[in-house]
Symmetry: C2
Subunit: 250 residues, 2 copies
């Protein structure tokens, strides 16, 4: 069933009214008629099934049939910060990361990032990644459209991190030293509504200087198991671990 992300003013307890681009999509692209059912999601992430009752020249009007109760979003808000990787790996991270429940993605310029984005290229890249996130959010039945932020430096990332409850670095040196407890400790303590910022290095990994700088700013390095994970696989492990712990294990 087609899903539309609407503003709160367009959806109340009983009725919906849709104008603008979504109106165009419903009437011209999908060619829906009165009687058709759609899924609408408001700004608060509440989801309802609505039935179209009337289509005017500029609005689709309908009635809410049923508010859906199930929570599709991860109760812990996870932001994935990735050191700019090569090729289309960010596409993969954003697509699969969205399926797995990430709230936000931040590309950052790591010392070992081979790839550089000039500002024109960066805009296009971010726009493309936002499209990928939207499409993945629709397919995986998310109630929230994950955001893809503009690229940051490590310093900007540290500044941005001050608003997070937990700040973690996925660092393979920790895994090699047998560190197994820190992620589990965070996930055991974290309460619904809290936020985790997770930092992943590019293909060459983070430098010791970067890890020291992040640690000094309150980040904790943790292992993600004994096997070395690629830059585009590690975020998926982290998100699956969060989901498994807080949604399945509870």
């Amino acid at each position: 069933m087609q899903r539309y992300f609407l503003e709160n003013k367009q959806v109340n307890e009983q009725n919906i009214i849709i104008t603008g681009d979504d109106y165009h999509h419903i009437t011209r692209v999908m060619r829906m008629e009165p009687g058709a059912e759609i899924i609408v999601v408001n700004n608060d992430g509440q989801t309802a099934i609505a039935k179209i009752s009337e289509i005017t020249n500029d609005a689709v009007v309908g009635a809410v049939i049923e508010w859906k109760d199930e929570e599709k979003e991860l109760p812990i808000h996870v932001t994935i910060a990735s050191g700019l990787p090569k090729g289309d790996k960010l596409d993969y991270i954003v697509q699969k990361g969205t399926e797995l429940g990430a709230l936000e993605f931040i590309p950052f310029i790591a010392a070992r990032s081979v790839v550089k984005w000039d500002s024109k290229k960066a805009s296009k890249k971010i726009e493309r990644l936002q499209k990928i996130a939207k499409e993945a959010a629709e397919q995986s039945h998310r109630s929230v459209l994950p955001a893809v932020k503009e690229q940051m430096t490590v310093s900007q990332l540290i500044q941005y991190a001050t608003s997070f409850d937990y700040k973690l670095i996925a660092f393979e040196e920790e895994a090699k030293r047998g560190e197994t407890a820190r992620l589990a400790k965070v996930l055991t303590e974290a309460k619904p509504g809290q936020s985790i910022l997770f930092v992943f290095g590019p293909e060459g990994g983070l430098t010791t200087e970067e890890v020291d700088k992040l640690s000094a700013a309150g980040f904790t390095a943790c292992g993600l198991g004994p096997r070395i994970l690629r830059t585009e696989t590690a975020p998926l492990y982290a998100l699956a671990a969060v989901s498994y712990h807080v949604e399945l294990l509870r």
Copy 2:
């Protein structure tokens, strides 16, 4: 450091002797000389650092410096059975599944598999997937080379499954119904050395008939969280969940 998977007869407590393709790789490709150190892995998955002491016309001889204690392998043996998906998704599943610790991959012919492999195509595909598994095993420092089996029918899969301790189906209908407990129950009970066979449908999902058939044969359907995961993402969630539960949470 270069890693070589050897037969038990080539490695004893103190010495190694390498001939054949690996001899060729060490002497002609890597051009190593006496004094060089390599990692060797025997059939039992035991890993050692060895130093080359002598290179003859047809053998590399060396001494074991140190047996490495750390366990890189998932203590639970996980086999991933995937309904034949489209395009190169199996490449992703095998590559990332190997990074994440899977022991074995089985492509199977699902009712909704769009792709069909004739026997000539199947051989080439399996060979290619085995190369992908080997390269991923080397990069992620595995002690075991995951196997890629010949494609099976659902009936053959059921037959093969009789040797497994746990048989699970990732089924989104269960997730939609809010099923959250079964995977956690299995992972809480499973003991080191036990095995899990995990079945995933192709893009269109498994049919009700397939799920019924598998259930009648002792498979348990379980949810992997409330979000819909693509056919190539679901196995990664499952593997990360196993690793997180048995390696990090313990």
